[in-house]
Amino acid sequence: MTGGSALNAPSRAVGDASAGRGLANLRGTGRSVLMLAGWREARWLMRSPLVLGGLAVSVWLVWLNNRIRPGDFPEPATIFWWAADVNVVACLLPTTGGALLAAQLAAGRSRRDGMEHLYRTYPASAATRSGAHLLSLAGPLILAVVFIVAAVAWVAAQPAIGQPRWWVLAAGLLLVALGGVLGTALGSWLRHPMTGILVALALGLIEIDLVLTYSNPIHLAGGIEWLFPWVDTAGVLTALPGLTVPYPPPAHLAELAGLIALAGVAALWPVAASRRAVATIAVAALAITGWSGWDQVQGVSTKTQAAMASQVILPGSVQRCQLIDGVRYCYYPAFAPLARQWADAVDGVLARVPGAARTALTVRQVWDGNFFVPPLLAPTGLTSNGGGAPSKLATTVSNFQGALSKDPRLIIGSSMPPVYTDANWGTGSTLGAAQLALAISAAEWATGLPTTGRAVSYNYAIPGGGSTSGTAVLACVPVGQARAAIAAWLAAGATPAARSAFVSSAAPGAVVSTQVGRDWVATVQLAGSGPSVGLNATVQAVALARRMLRLPARQVESVLARRWESWLRPAATTAELASALAVPLPRQPVARPSLPYTRGSATYGIYTPPTQTCG
């Protein structure tokens, strides 16, 4: 062996001899390396097809869930921020999944590509590289911020009622961050791409189950749903104005933050220089997560539940009232912007009512939705379905809602008959239907027609076998009465949009057979607003109203004004009204009985008990 033998050779280095030494003096600090590497990784994450794909799905979901389409009314056609903000965040779940997958791939990249051996020879430590991967989540977070801002602007332009809540939107950012940190932690330990895919799939399936308001194939024990990163509470409290979500918001934010910290600890653990510091953070994060989890499974306090029910049962306790052109409009505070729009429809009716006593009319907003979505309401105690026996509170609310459409005296301070509107309102192409519904209720009030119905229990033996039973709220039919045509004319002429909606509603296809006493009458059902039963008018009355619309308004008003009180009597007929207006009396078609029947083992048709003529 000749180790150590002397070798002498001239230096053959050429070029700038100071280059290497000079760079050594110009190197950045550990923090600048961390920031710069983090930003590089962030840019890659922002351009990752997984993140961008998730974002595209998020955008599609927001559009799908929050667009208002023609025909939505009377289905929820109004966007409420207290539901929409939750939905916007739920729509971020695909972006979260994309961030998880992309971050897992990025964090496991050096080992998966066989580069770790080389990377260990660089001055930037493994901890710096892991830190850079965590910092890189700024990329998806920037995209999430842009998404949220754009979604909020778009939903607000729909328009929407209320204001988005910052803590709900902040939870959306924490969701994306959690997905990314979880992916980074996975990649730090398990480099195989399937790891991220399997985890995203497992969490995704549970999350999908939790955010969908139907099916729910995965049943979790009551209450623990809130421990998962996101549950779509939008379906739980959709139309409850001003209510909060049924869990403590700070606790859920703290839980997400705690989970992020725990995942961050898992990501840094293999490379941490000071494991004691990381362990301390882990213990603190565990404590925060545990506390927030415990706090969330406690359910809603009795006091909060009582407040929630009180808003429904005693709306006057929280509502504000506003006088517009002599009419009193009472609404939940968030709905203040709608009062003017309601007034447009109501004014359109009252302006053509001779000597209308506007001050006698109160248009009151009521809540007629259902507490829904099993099993998410288990911790709230408000559920009235989904397995367990309904709580006392749920029963109280349910009974109130049942009574709302048939008891005109239910809410103190309402008009007689009451004119209700609910949380739904139209916009764009659905505005006409919404205006017509409220105008129908206002016209019924003006013409003395009932706005509420009569509850009937029935048990009907179907010819051919079988039976059907239940309870129905029935609207009376003003058969042959002039006031039905007058009410329809008043409502249809309230606004141009209401007129178009009326024409659509009175199309030949809308004719149904209604049993009035022993007779069958061809009628058209014109929906009322909120829980009102609406106007079930004869085909003849509706057709006369259409002819009245074609006449000059002054001519019709003059004829009505001459003997207004007389026209409102049930005895005043459509034939007399047509004669006074000098128009031909439209034909009332003969109605065929429409009863359910059994053929073979199948039953066809729906049974509706007989109603009465409006008195």
Partner: protein, 312 residues
């Protein structure tokens, strides 16, 4: 090139700055009685070496311990026994290990790549990890190594589209980033075509800053062409350290030409002119002796040509 033989105890506790100053006048790599085992296999067996600035070739058959030695010098592996001083720093100390890494360029034998990265994106990222955070300096350095490795035209290409030789050049480019004081290159020319190998030699010859270059290879002619010193590792032990000429001298008087294959030769092959080139310990009387090459010396040293594997 500084003197290689500098026996003496290492002072691992010396301050980093002082250690740096020492390397300017002394050996830049000092390896003392280093042993490394993988289970029962002894990869390095009591290796001692002192190397100065210049290009040093590391020769040895597969499994001789070359890659293990380079991994230890590149701070990704540590010895089971023995001490090292690299550029005056002790790699056993975390703070000094960082200083070594700041001055190191390393090309592993088996290097993976981020296949979906572009050439420039990959080098830019590596430059950041090498603490080149000033964008102006980093971009200039990127342009320099791209030009040095003839990759400028491929800067925007994705790595997955590059040939094996191009990727090897890319590996070399990342090693050159930051103009390191110590270049550890494990089989840098494998996969390169003859022209690229010549370009590689040119590149090594023009490195700025008079770095220490440790070059492990099976190509003896590359060592002869560019290395001022050569170390031969056999079975985990240093069997030779000297100049290529000294390596060639090991076969002096053992190489001869003959019209037919000589029965006394340990290794014979027909040369391009039709005559047989024989290597063996006992050339016949009156044999047509030829000047040996470094390759002949390596063959004698490794025992493939009749040597006993020990330095004669």
């Amino acid at each position: 090139m500084k003197a290689l033989a500098r026996p003496g105890a290492l002072d691992g506790s010396a301050a980093a700055s002082a250690a740096k100053e020492r390397t300017d006048s002394g050996p830049v790599l000092r390896i003392e009685h280093v042993t490394r085992r993988y289970g029962r296999t002894v990869a390095l067996d009591n290796v001692s070496l002192e190397l100065g600035r210049g290009i040093v070739g590391l020769l040895g058959p597969n499994g001789a311990g070359k890659t293990t030695l380079l991994s230890i010098l590149a701070t990704v592996a540590s010895p089971d026994a023995g001490r090292l001083s690299v550029l005056g720093y002790d790699p056993a100390l975390a703070s000094e290990r960082l200083e070594i890494r700041r001055r190191l360029g390393y090309l592993p034998q088996d290097l993976g790549y981020h296949r979906h990265f572009t050439v420039s994106a990959f080098l830019d990222y590596v430059a950041i990890l090498k603490e080149l955070t000033d964008s102006r300096i980093r971009h200039a350095e990127l342009a320099r190594v791209l030009a040095s490795t003839d990759l400028t035209a491929l800067a925007g290409k994705r790595i997955r589209t590059l040939s094996g030789g191009m990727r090897r050049r890319l590996g070399l480019a990342q090693a050159l980033l930051g103009s390191p004081d110590l270049l550890v290159l494990d089989e840098p020319v494998s996969g390169l075509d003859p022209e690229q190998r010549l370009r590689f030699r040119e590149l090594l010859s023009q490195l700025p800053g008079d770095p220490v270059v440790l070059l492990a290879t099976h190509q003896v002619e590359d060592v002869t062409a560019v290395c001022s010193a050569v170390v031969v590792l056999l079975a985990g032990r240093v069997r030779f350290a000297g100049t290529p000429a000294e390596l060639a001298d090991l076969a002096s008087g053992r190489v001869w030409l003959s019209p037919e294959r000589h029965a006394g030769a340990e290794l014979s092959w027909r040369a391009g002119d039709g005559r047989w080139r024989n290597i063996g310990p006992l050339p016949p009387a009156g044999a047509d002796m030829v000047t040996p090459t470094a390759e002949d010396g390596y063959l004698v040293l490794s025992g493939a040509a009749g040597g006993n594997g020990a330095h004669p």
